[in-house]
Every structure is written in C-alpha cells, then in structure tokens.
Symmetry: C2
Subunit: 226 residues, 2 copies
Amino acid sequence: MSAATPGGPAAAPRKRGRPARGSAEDGPGARERILTSARTEFAERGYDKASVRAIARGAEVDPALVHHYFGTKEQVFGAAIESAFAPAFVVPRMFEDSRPEELGEKIVRAFFHIWEDPRTRDPMLAVLRSAVNNEKAAQVFRRLLQRNLLSRAAAVLDVPDAELRVELAASQMVGAALVRYVIGMEPIASEPLDQLAARLAPAVQQHLTGSPAPGAGAAAGGTAGS
Amino acid sequence: MSAATPGGPAAAPRKRGRPARGSAEDGPGARERILTSARTEFAERGYDKASVRAIARGAEVDPALVHHYFGTKEQVFGAAIESAFAPAFVVPRMFEDSRPEELGEKIVRAFFHIWEDPRTRDPMLAVLRSAVNNEKAAQVFRRLLQRNLLSRAAAVLDVPDAELRVELAASQMVGAALVRYVIGMEPIASEPLDQLAARLAPAVQQHLTGSPAPGAGAAAGGTAGS
C-alpha cells in the first residue's frame, strides 16, 4: 500500500488538515477514533455508500483530518480493514506452531473466535460487504489477504500447491461465515460454535493436507476423499 | 413485510398499469423481458440501488407493468432470483438419483457448471450481492433456498442432521464461488474447473456423509468421532 500516506505521528500535519477547534480532536486518539468510525461506516453502508464525511462525523473530527491521516477513501478503507484484520494475522503463526493434522481444527476455531465477537465481526462484515460490491474494495482486500495471510501461511505449509490449499480452506470458512452471520440461514446461523467447528474442521483439514478427488477429469468415480 | 402487495397474475390490472403503447409491450414476452432485465439490474446494482424504473426501461415496458406483473421491488426480486435459480433446482434431484458417495463430485460440478456460464452466473451474483447488503433481499434468498433446495435435498439424505449437512456443503461451494468470481482472488480465480472441482468435492462429500471432527469440545453431544 505504497500510496497510503503513513499517517502516524511521524507525518507532518498539513495546514488545511488541522482542525480549527483546537488540539482536543487531534492527537493520537483521533487516529484510532477515525479507524473505528471507518470500520463502522464501511460495515453499515458498504464501500460505495460510505463517505469520508460520515467517518469524520463518527470520529468527531474534521473530514480534512481523515484525509490528512489516511488519504483517499480507498486508502481509509485499506487502513480500516488492515486494522480490522489484525486479529486474523495470528493465523500464519498457527501454521508455524502446529502439527499439520491439527491445523484444520485450530484455524477454524481461531477464525470463528474472531467472527463471534461483534467488535471484530463488524469490521470483517464491512470488508466482505464492500469487497462483494466494489471492485476497488475487492482489490484492496485481495492485496491485504495475499500479503498478510496467504503467502505467509503458504510459505509454512511448504508444498507446491500451498497457496491453493490455504485459499480453499479460507473459502470454506468465509462461506460458512457468510451463511451464518450475513445471510443468517438456519440451521448454521444458530448452530453452537463447538458443533459448527467440528463440522468445518475436517473440510478445512482436507483442503490443507488431504488428497484431491481422483476423478478430476472424468465423471464422478469413487470420490474416496481421504 | 406487510407492505408487500401480492401482485401476481391474480391481481386485477390497475388502469394506470396498462401500457399505453398497445399490446406489443404487453403479452407473454413482456414478463420474460422484465425478469431478464430485473436479473441484470439486481446483478449490476444490487438490491438497494436497483430500481423498478430501470428494470422497466431495460425491458422496454412501462414501470407500471412491472408492478402489475410482480408487485413491489421485493417481489420483483423474489421472482427474478427464483427464475435465476431454476438451474440449481436440479440439485435435489441429484440427491435422489445418486449413490451417497458420489454426491460431492456431482453437486460441485453442477454448481460450478451454473457459475461458469455468464448467463446463469450473473443472476447468482445478483442474488449474492443483494443478500449480502440488504436484509430484505437476504430474507427472500433464505426462503427460496430453504423451500427449493435445503428441505428437498435434506429430505432425500434422510439423516437427522441432513439440513445442516446440506447447508455446510452449500457454504463451501458459495465460499469458493465468492473467492473465484466475486473477489477474483488467485489462484482459485484461474484454477481450471476440473482441478477446482477435484479439490472441493472431498470437502463437500465430507459434509454430506462424513463424520464431524472428534474434538468438538464438551458440548458436542451426538457428534460421533470418525
């Protein structure tokens, strides 16, 4: 995200980015408030409808300060989802710290742990909604996942098709999250998390370490599926 | 949903609902054109932004005729996705006609056959985008899937947790479709269909006929381990 102005304390504030009302709305707290507000705004309204003005209002800062810290709306989005996904970045470490055969269960539990908590779920919802509806948002999302999750996890898995495997596992979890939290479809929506995890873990494990079905080209033969 | 007027064929056409230009835009062709236009409109703009006016324009009919045939926007949406999903309604029949162990492969192939063809993909995208962003659309979607796919497929599977199994299988396929067609994330986006199906089939099969993971936690009662 080279385009994103590193807007931390290091960056010198531009004049027009300074709020007129004084230092109360600036400072380190403002940056966090803007990110929080951005996550809410993107979650509730999606990328297309979200506005920097509303994000600023939610953070009780001037819109110019949002631009000052983060740049364009696309860049605000990038920063918001990067902070939203911070909990998920533990996953690559799991690949390092786990035996291969326990990865399915561990990753599924970590993933749904994030989704079950509204504070971390809403940002994920924001990302999902926006990426589904807007190509720019999808692009930001792809870059973020690629850099922080897929490549890192795949590097640890250390098989030629590692990225495909990790992504298939992700597709299973994202699909289940979509059905459970977004579409709200029963019975998955109300399934106790333990039971749901017990169902998903073998499928995720299959993707990470199992064999593909033998009948890749031909019609359905014996889909033994180890 | 009390606002939804049941506007099907049973409803007497309102005078202002009749097109002025004569019978060319009415008749059986108009209904089909409206559905086609509605699928495009919902696909491109999502439920929230789609308008009956634009649907009418795309079908070259008067907006009143859309209301006459289908009722409210919500009902137009219901009719559009029902027609969009018609190809998917072969799936329950697969449950009847297949040996259990070949279901994974067969269903995955049928599902992606629908998604690979832009004519059937666009309507599915419409549904997915809309259901992700709008609770009313999600509700229509839930009802449709419940009635036409889940219950019917589950009835054939004939195990106590059949609906959960069918829905988990669906969640895997929807998740993969999301990654491949909506987010466009590599390597899944470019994976040849045969290979992708060979990867997904064992996971789907696992959901339909496999055992849950043993480590379901204390709460997992009936989840007999493999």
